[in-house]
Symmetry: C2
Subunit: 289 residues, 2 copies
């Protein structure tokens, strides 16, 4: 059994042109949880000025109808963000630290060392508060400013973040290939996850390879929502329904209702007024029910 | 080293709405060969009435500027098609036999037994003529009319087609998942290849798994040209440039010039007036040259 963490309401919508109101984002979270997704990244507690798509995180959380068995997570990049997340009452904090200095400065306005320091403080507080924690290592395979990333640096960073309940390796700009993903996952202490973008069509092969390497958590985004700010014509996260199709076909249990996911992508397509990147919702399940 | 067989000029264009004239298709073949692709499926010797996109196969072949090291292939579905292919002087005949009766009747107007009989005659003649041969087993993983296909049936069919120089397992409608592909590839006598569609976003994971299973030939289509007649909103073959990106990133040599492929997809995009499904040509090579 693999734990899929649905990141559409956060990483997906954050990279969409359209800004959806908090009530709609809460409805999306509720629909995703109802489809059986074990984890949903519901909101981002960052500056609304910097990321207008994520404004009103508290309102999103208020709109959630809590479902037994679903873990509701949020993103924080500093203690202030964690305070808001904690006040809102989410179950899990996801804290991102970049693997390169350039990306860390541009994304979080902090050096990697400063980001690790902030993560350490937040992870300690989360442990005290009984809040689950995930440390995501961004640009773990490649950086738009610095190019390929040395795997040893990522391994070292993961060790510095070992206070987290789990480490997630993020291919933020979608440049990794499967053997690279498998090799890095194998070097990280478990439990480990992978956050994959399909920017260059390697995302699903990378997910397969991550499982071979021992990953037990996979991030994905309903419909493949989202894009890549560093490649404007490119696509975003791997699509949740396509991931579920692949895993179930391979006999890997997900506990997720694929038809329920497809209905959500159809709803999102009408909401956003454009076809999404997900393919199973367009091509149909095989064999048909 | 993996042998990529480029099927864009045949399987790709055959499923496009636009009909490109033979001279343009010959130019496409020449550009693909110049990018270093070891094999190009250049033409289809089927009825122009049934498949107008493939009309003028002889003209296409006449327009080819032969390049050392490139193997030029064509599709035939019967002896008449083989006669034309042989007269045109191609290096390889690719003969397709469906794994199910329903698909065989609809696609070739013949039972599977009749198709195997025709294949056997063509394969014998090809051997005599010194023409290379590939037997492709269509709908080897799933059929739009009959659903999932029993792997044992495909194994048996492959044995009946053992006179071919190689067997290619085709996921014609893009329903397979990686473990299924790997398991079936492992059961077929080598050399074996895989022909994969990305209809449900499993195509590249399937390619990765096919290599794990021992495949040494992979079909792909420049830009992901083509579609799926059984799922009108769905995409077609795996894109050659994305496959090369993935393989080279994994350290699997292809001998193909990725920048050359990207230039061809850009040319095709302007020719067809729409973005293609390939993603690397939109997102860019990483790391940038």
């Amino acid at each position: 059994m693999i734990a899929i963490c649905e990141v559409g309401p956060r990483d997906g919508l954050q990279n969409e042109k359209d800004v959806l109101p908090p009530a709609t984002r809460a409805e999306l979270v509720n629909r995703l949880a109802a489809a059986g997704l074990p984890r949903v990244e519901a909101a981002s507690f960052v500056s609304a000025e910097r990321v207008p798509q994520m404004a009103g995180a508290e309102e999103v959380v208020e709109g959630i109808e809590r479902r037994d068995g679903t873990l509701y997570a949020g993103l924080a990049l500093n203690e202030k963000g964690y305070d808001r997340l904690r006040a809102a009452g989410l179950d899990e904090v996801r804290f991102a630290v970049a693997a390169t200095e350039s990306f860390s400065m541009r994304n979080a306005n902090a050096s990697v060392e400063e980001a690790v320091g902030a993560a350490t403080r937040v992870l300690a507080r989360a442990r005290e508060d009984g809040v689950r924690s995930t440390a995501t290592i961004s640009v773990a395979f490649g950086c738009p400013f610095e190019g390929p990333v040395e795997p040893a640096n990522v391994v070292e960073l993961a060790e510095q973040l070992a206070a987290a309940d789990e480490i997630v390796l993020a291919d933020t700009i979608g440049v990794a290939t499967p053997k690279q993903v498998r090799a890095l996952v194998e070097r990280i202490e478990k439990p480990v996850g992978a956050h994959l973008h399909n920017t260059r069509n390697t995302g699903f092969a990378n997910a397969y390879a991550a499982l071979e390497g021992g990953a037990t958590i996979l991030d994905s985004s309903i419909g493949g929502l989202g894009g890549c700010p560093f490649a404007p014509r490119a696509t975003g996260n791997i699509a949740t329904e396509d991931l579920v199709y692949m895993l179930e076909g391979d006999g890997v249990g997900t506990g997720v209702d694929l038809e329920g996911l497809i209905a959500i992508s159809e709803w999102l397509e009408s909401l956003l007024g454009r076809p999404l990147e997900g393919q199973v919702y367009r091509a149909g399940i095989f064999p048909a029910a």
